[in-house]
């Protein structure tokens, strides 16, 4: 499994302005706000529905076995205003999801952004909502 754990820069935390922030669906309760990861895989399914969108994507581990990860997005209503649609991700798309991992160790993360194979970036959680975000 190609999971790159990134050390969180203190400067970024300061700029995020909310060290212990949660989000709707209790972001910091479900996810680790002080840890960011990149997970690369292939889209299986994409549910662009409220209250939160979910990207299902397969990640092949070192043992050759595929594990299905879930990437939870903000409300699709917020993302539509940032250019997302229900067609932004299609089964078979190779993606790298950057975000915050689930506290319970399950293969799930909160989506900061999605990078597609063609370099397109889909921005997810934003500090504009008054919580921890990537911009």
């Amino acid at each position: 499994m190609r999971v790159i754990v990134l050390a969180l820069a203190a400067m970024f935390l300061m700029s995020a302005g909310a060290l212990t922030a949660q989000a709707h669906h209790s972001f910091a309760v479900h996810y680790i706000p002080d840890k960011e990861i990149d997970v690369t895989g292939v889209v299986k399914d994409f549910h662009f529905a409220n209250p939160h969108g979910v990207i299902f994507f397969d990640v092949v581990g070192d043992d050759g076995e595929a594990v299905t990860w879930k990437g939870e997005t903000n409300s699709p209503n917020l993302l539509k205003r940032r250019g997302w649609s229900n067609k932004s991700l299609q089964p078979g798309d190779k993606i790298t999801v950057h975000g915050w991992p689930a506290r319970d160790g399950k293969p799930m993360l909160r989506v900061g952004y999605v990078k597609k194979a063609d370099g397109t970036i889909l921005r997810g959680q934003s500090s504009a909502e008054g919580i921890k975000g990537l911009d």
Binding site: A21, H25, V54, E129
Partner: protein
Amino acid sequence: MSLTGAALAAAMVLATPAVAEVPRKDGHPDLSGFYNFTRIDEEAPAAKALIAKVPEGAVFMKDGGAYEFPPNEYGGLKPKPDVLAEARKWSPQQELEVQNICKKPSVIYAIQGPFPMEITQGRDMIVMQMEYFDMVRVIFMDGRDHPPADAPHSLLGHSIGHWEGDELVVDTTHLEPATITNNGLNHSEDAHFIERFRLSDDGQTLYSTEYIEDPTNLENTGYRLMAWKKHPGEHIFPYECDPFAYQEDE
């Protein structure tokens, strides 16, 4: 003034940027428009003016917008012992259960989230269309009172409003019990919700204080502060919650 001088003066007037101000309608600020959540500035003059009018003793619940309190924290609200015991049974996993994912809140929680709303202001009625859960509020401005206490309750409750200077005061009762903080603490059907809305001097940011008292469930009172930025030309999207969003298709 010479012709050239007059032309220069006219050009200067045309080049001066228009100063935005609070639009007015029927002698009151016109709150009509589309607003989206924006960062909450407690020091903004409009915010300070509203906070100054919050009833004494109310605690400031700083979870306006997307921020939510962790388990067992209620922003300074003091639940009655039996209510607190019930609230402590809450676990974060419960909100991901199918029966809870799309559970609609009352206006007390719905109005404090990071979602847009569109206001249409009439003389006798103000309509607030909230994107969150497609909730549409009607605020009666025609001088009527609340219905009798035993009238049906709902998640939107019954709202009556009036103007105090340039501030809209909205008084809501008849609320169906629902969450206050989205982490186990609920208000009762006796909750009383008072909002004060005020536009910034440039008319571009709408602030509100949201005061809650509920002597059945709470030992004290509290309030939130919210802020929305005006976005002309935008409109509300449907919410259409899907309780199966987290379940992979078969």
